[in-house]
């Protein structure tokens, strides 16, 4: 019935929505930033544990749609062990992938995150996918404040 949506709602997304990874409060976090999408009410808190400039651990809490939950869940998995510079580079690639500015983007470069490439056909949903990454960007820049997609 929802055949048209298979590119957007891939099984991996349902899986991460049902069982989000790293969904927990981190008491000893070095960075904690809140992300908010006022349009749909999605709200998340991202926690990072740093070791030098390496992201040692990442976790989150919050509520949102399947796209935003899967996006933040996948992100916390993929950024663990990455340096700040590597995570920032990934954010840029992810942003280009989801906003469709570079059609020829190498999906291999983003690994598992490629399952979110489908949002670029749904402009109203792009912010759901990018909220996690904007929040990460703020955390990496050590901005201890709430960020908003608007």
């Amino acid at each position: 019935m929802f055949d048209d949506l298979r590119d957007l709602y891939q099984e991996v997304i349902f899986d991460h929505n049902r069982n989000p990874r790293n969904f927990r409060v981190m008491d000893n976090a070095d960075r904690k930033v809140e992300g908010f999408n006022p349009l749909c009410g999605d709200r998340l808190t991202l926690y990072l544990k740093m070791s030098g400039d390496v992201i040692e651990d990442a976790s989150f809490q919050g509520s949102g749609c399947a796209i935003s939950t899967a996006s933040v869940s996948l992100m916390t998995e993929i950024i663990k062990g990455k340096t700040e510079a590597e995570a920032e580079a990934l954010f840029k690639t992810f942003h280009e992938m989801t906003t469709g500015k570079d059609e020829a983007i190498q999906l291999e470069a983003v690994g598992k995150l490629a399952v979110l490439a489908g949002v670029r056909e749904y402009p109203a949903r792009v912010k759901c996918a990018t909220l996690a990454w904007h929040t990460l960007d703020a955390a990496l820049k050590n901005e201890q404040k709430s960020i908003s997609t608007e």
Binding site: M1, F2, L5, L8, Y9, A124
Partner: protein
């Protein structure tokens, strides 16, 4: 079902023929904005092709013709809400501007520090924020009457909040987020017994029921054209003449003046005192056409048909496991707000869209209502006179299927 010529009405709305993602459009976002009948589309087109010039200006034929059509639309609007005079029909951009107009003229002129404005917990942001701004400007205080879990105003609590300091009551006639129809006659009587004027936000109510401002005895009534099957960018502020006469003007400019020198300006009479600048001429005439179209069908017939649609949808929705209806007032218009267990409204919206079904997902510009129900957002199907039971079946089947997919 009583006989209501819905199939005939549907033919008057060309957009209902659209295919969305290769499926017939099922348009259930009417509370956000209604679609337009040929009568409106053709009227606007005709104005630009044959009758267009600026109004209230020239002596030339087209200006006279345009002015006649414009003022005749104002008369249709007056009759539609049974106002006493066209002097009481102020043309604005929409409900939002109508409410801001009252806040910035009546409100600014009459409110002092410590005075109170009373609203309800189910207001749209457009009936909250203009009063907050006014409170900041004047030192007045905004009071909020609570609602119960069904989404109904608790009238006894409302009455308790009517005090010596209350200078204005501003209440939504029908809630856009919940569908609740407020007991506005009762509210107005309670306020008037204490000599407090009442503004009604009629944006949602106006397409769903006959509204008689004299029978209600409201002091202000604000509504928009685009929710009444008319064009966007046009709205109305009804105000009692004596109040309007005493109010200072809103914006300064052309049309709202009688005489201007560099030393002083004499303002125009009602309703023009509040209508600075060139209005959206063709759209106002288009709104007049929408009203004529609705008069032919009859607002009472529309209300009866929509009540059947809502009952049908509500019964169907209650059979879906995991669906919770938000807003179950005894008096309710054709709006079905709901949430699903573990499925976010935006996912519901995207999935239904792939079936051609347009609903609204979000906070509906009523964030305090979302907070009250402790949900980030709801999905909302809102019905109009051109919707059918078959369309509600498509919606409900879609909801059941997406619950399955999400698992």
């Amino acid at each position: 079902m009583t006989h209501f010529p819905v199939e005939k009405i549907r033919l008057d709305f060309p957009i209902l023929e659209e295919k969305i993602r290769n499926k017939p459009l099922v348009y259930l976002d009417n509370a956000a904005s209604c679609q337009k009948p040929n009568a409106v589309i053709d009227t606007i087109s005709h104005v630009y092709r044959h009758d267009y010039a600026n109004v209230h200006r020239g002596v030339h034929t087209l200006s006279v013709r345009s002015t006649d059509k414009f003022e005749s639309a104002r008369e249709k609007i007056r009759a539609f809400i049974n106002a006493d005079s066209t002097k009481e029909i102020i043309i604005t951009k929409g409900t939002t501007e109508s409410i801001n107009l009252v806040a910035q003229t009546y409100g600014k002129a009459n409110l002092k520090p410590g005075d109170e404005i009373l609203i309800t917990a189910m207001e749209h942001h457009s009936n909250i924020v203009p009063w907050q701004m006014l409170c900041e400007q004047t030192g007045a205080i905004l009071k909020v009457a609570p609602i119960n879990q069904q989404g109904e105003l608790i009238v006894t609590e409302f009455e308790k909040l009517l005090g010596d300091k209350t200078r204005l009551v501003a209440v939504v006639h029908m809630s856009n987020a919940l569908g609740t129809i407020n007991p506005v006659k009762n509210i107005i009587d309670l306020a008037h017994s204490r000599s407090i004027p009442v503004l009604l936000d009629g944006a949602q109510a106006i397409p769903h029921m006959a509204v008689d401002v004299q029978a209600l005895d409201c002091d202000f009534y604000a509504f928009s054209g685009h929710k009444l099957y008319g064009p966007s960018g046009v709205g109305i502020l009804y105000g009692k003449r004596a109040l309007l006469e005493a109010m200072p003007p809103y914006q300064g400019g052309g049309d709202m003046i009688r005489k201007v020198t560099f030393e002083e300006t004499e303002y125009n009479s009602l309703p023009y005192k509040f209508e600075a600048g060139t209005p959206s001429i063709a759209d106002v005439i288009g709104l007049g056409a929408a009203i004529e179209y609705l008069n032919d069908i009859g607002m009472d017939a529309i209300a009866a048909y929509e009540a059947e649609l809502l009952n049908y949808a509500t019964e169907k929705a209650k059979q879906i496991k995991g669906l919770r209806i938000i807003g179950e007032a005894a008096e309710k218009g054709a709006i079905l707000s709901f949430v699903l267990d573990r499925i976010h409204p935006h996912d519901i919206g995207t999935m239904l869209d792939s079936l051609g079904v347009a609903i609204r997902a979000g906070h509906h510009c009523a964030m305090p209502v979302m907070d009250f129900y402790e949900v980030p957002a709801t999905a909302r199907a809102s019905f109009a006179m051109y919707n059918t039971q078959q369309e509600i079946d498509v919606l409900m089947n879609g909801i059941e299927s997406l619950i399955e997919v999400f698992g």
